[in-house]
């Protein structure tokens, strides 16, 4: 129920710049993922939003008002931590009701609201347990309930699934998304897991060394990355070096790749002479007869994975392509093959953003 605008956020630790001008925008009810490897500044950004860290520069506007000088306990944001941060000496119900108790609400109202939110996150019946007596997935749901019960303007989640095993992770992930959408709370979600970010978010900010490398929808991040770093971080990818790039219009280029002329789309306004690569996701490639398709090569590796057959093709000029073929395809090692590309999913981008 709030819009958020982060502009030019900076955080410095002695001579290390943890945040170097981070800018983001969230509309009401959106879930924004901050995605990147450890040390990229995603958690630092979240902690600045929560008020646990004071930025050295830039501004954070919530509903158009700067909150940078508001202390954490008066921001009214819900925070969910990677280690859950449940109070070990309080029962589940006391943990969930903690914020309401601080507001000195009447006991009856606290009980009703705690009951309602525990039902929402499917924790009913556990209210008298201590945190150490329930499972990790349940603990994380308590943490979520504890943040939601205060009806926060903003929900901040710091790798909430990192300590859960794969099966629970799926379950809690969908619960978080459902609850967030039902209640229409604007949320920021820190993760290093690209599939999590893709599946849950309205917008993804891929972060790199204290900056936002790309801020866009999951589809755009995956299909139209602004540089190799983003493409690498968001899934399996093949990168082919290109030569003779000539622009033929806004975002379309004629290139030579692996000895073949191609017309492709790509990042607009790549400077002339800039180091560029062609992104080919494995699913946009398919195996064809040796004399058909765009590229020619031989199969150097193949692995049968049930649903797909993963192949590694070495092209005639030495470049390597990975692709997922039909599992029933007969692939002979060292056999000559052709590779067809889905032109609409080939994407030209700079190796490093200019």
């Amino acid at each position: 129920m709030a819009t958020v605008e982060v502009t030019g956020l900076q955080k410095r630790y002695q001579d290390f710049l943890a945040l170097d001008g981070v800018s983001l925008k969230a509309k009401t009810g959106q879930l924004i993922s901050l995605l990147g490897p450890s040390g990229c500044g995603k958690s630092t950004t979240l902690r600045c939003l929560a008020g646990f860290l004071e930025p050295n520069g830039g501004d954070i506007l919530v509903d158009g008002e700067s909150i940078v000088s508001t202390p954490a306990n008066r921001r009214g944001f819900g925070v969910v931590f990677q280690d859950y941060a449940l109070f070990p000496h309080m029962t589940v119900a006391e943990n969930v009701g903690y914020g309401l108790r601080l507001k000195r609400l009447p006991k009856g109202e606290i009980a009703t609201r705690v009951y309602d939110v525990m039902k929402l996150v499917r924790l009913d019946g556990l209210d008298r347990r201590l945190p150490k007596e329930i499972s990790g997935g349940q603990q994380q749901r308590v943490a979520l309930a504890r943040a939601l019960v205060l009806q926060p303007r903003l929900l901040l989640l710091d790798e909430p699934l990192a300590n859960l095993d794969a099966r629970l992770r799926d379950e809690v992930r969908w619960l978080i998304r459902d609850v967030q959408q039902q209640s229409g709370i604007t949320a920021f979600y820190v993760t290093h897991d690209q599939s999590e970010a893709m599946a849950m978010s309205d917008m993804v900010a891929v972060m790199k060394a204290g900056r936002v490398a790309q801020f866009a929808t999951p589809r755009e991040i995956y299909q139209k990355p602004t540089e190799r770093y983003v493409a690498d971080f968001t899934g399996e990818a093949n990168f082919l070096p290109v030569s003779q790039v000539t622009g033929t219009g806004e975002g379309s280029y004629r290139i030579v790749v692996a000895g073949t002329d191609l017309e492709v789309t790509g990042v607009p306004d790549i400077p002339i002479g800039w180091d560029a690569e062609l992104l080919l996701r494995p699913e946009s490639l398919s195996l064809v007869a040796p004399d058909a398709g765009t590229f020619r090569g031989r199969v150097t590796k193949s692995a049968f994975l049930g649903a797909a057959l993963h192949c590694e093709i070495t092209l005639d000029d030495g470049d390597v392509l990975r692709l997922a073929a039909d599992p029933n395809e007969q692939v002979s090692a060292e056999g000559k093959v052709g590779v067809a590309i889905d032109r609409s999913h080939a994407w030209l981008m700079p190796k490093v953003a200019p």
Binding site: A50, A72, V79, D83, F87, Y98, G99, L102, K103, L150
Partner: protein, 270 residues
Amino acid sequence: MTSSATTFANQRSVSFGFALLIVVLYIFLLAPLVAIVGSSFTQSLLIEFPPKGLSLRWYVEFFSRHDLVSGLIMSLRIGMITAIVTTVIAVMAGLAGRTLRGRLSGWFQVGMALPLLVPELLTAVGLLFFLYEIDLGKTVVGLQMGHILMSFPYAYVSISAALRQVPSSLEEASASMGATGWQTFRLVILPLVMPGVAMGAIFAFINSFDLYTISLLLKPLGGNTLPLALFDFLTYEFKPTAAAAATISIVLSLIGVALVQKLVGLQRAF
């Protein structure tokens, strides 16, 4: 096969030797206690072990001697005030030390332990001069200050260790739900570190009860703590009254430990 069998035999002899060492260590630690407690119940006129006969006459004798009883009362009073004041300061110091990072944090720890690192006699002499300077020489307040200073590190070590166990995310979580710093301390941090705080208070009390050198130099005119009174007593008489006094001290410590166990649980204190 043979080699693993030898290793196994070696391990057994090692663990047997280790167990023996532990037993010897415990005998070494507990024997004086057993001897002193036992000899306090003797009927004879000398401190001896095993006791000759059983009687409580030396306890009666202890409580009928004004110098020893007033020493006990003085020690109890100073010990309790020391425990309370030291605990409050140590909690505050622990909270401050927790926010420090890196090298600063290490120096802070050393600074808090300084009264342990400087010989007691030096501290006592320095304090004596200082207390005269501020007109508190040979007063109960001066002695009290000395005891607080000497007992502080014991309380600090226990309390700061307990505080370090509390993850900082708990404080952040509490703040994010609208708690002020004081509310977070009272509702989250204090309940979690209570065992360590209680343990620190007991350490401070026992240490204060036991201090000799600093009490000797700072003692008020006409006042004695129990250790001083006992030493004066033993200079002229070698009666089991001293053993009775020592047994009373041991019982007092045990009561303290039992209280912590009852209130917060000792196993949670470590």
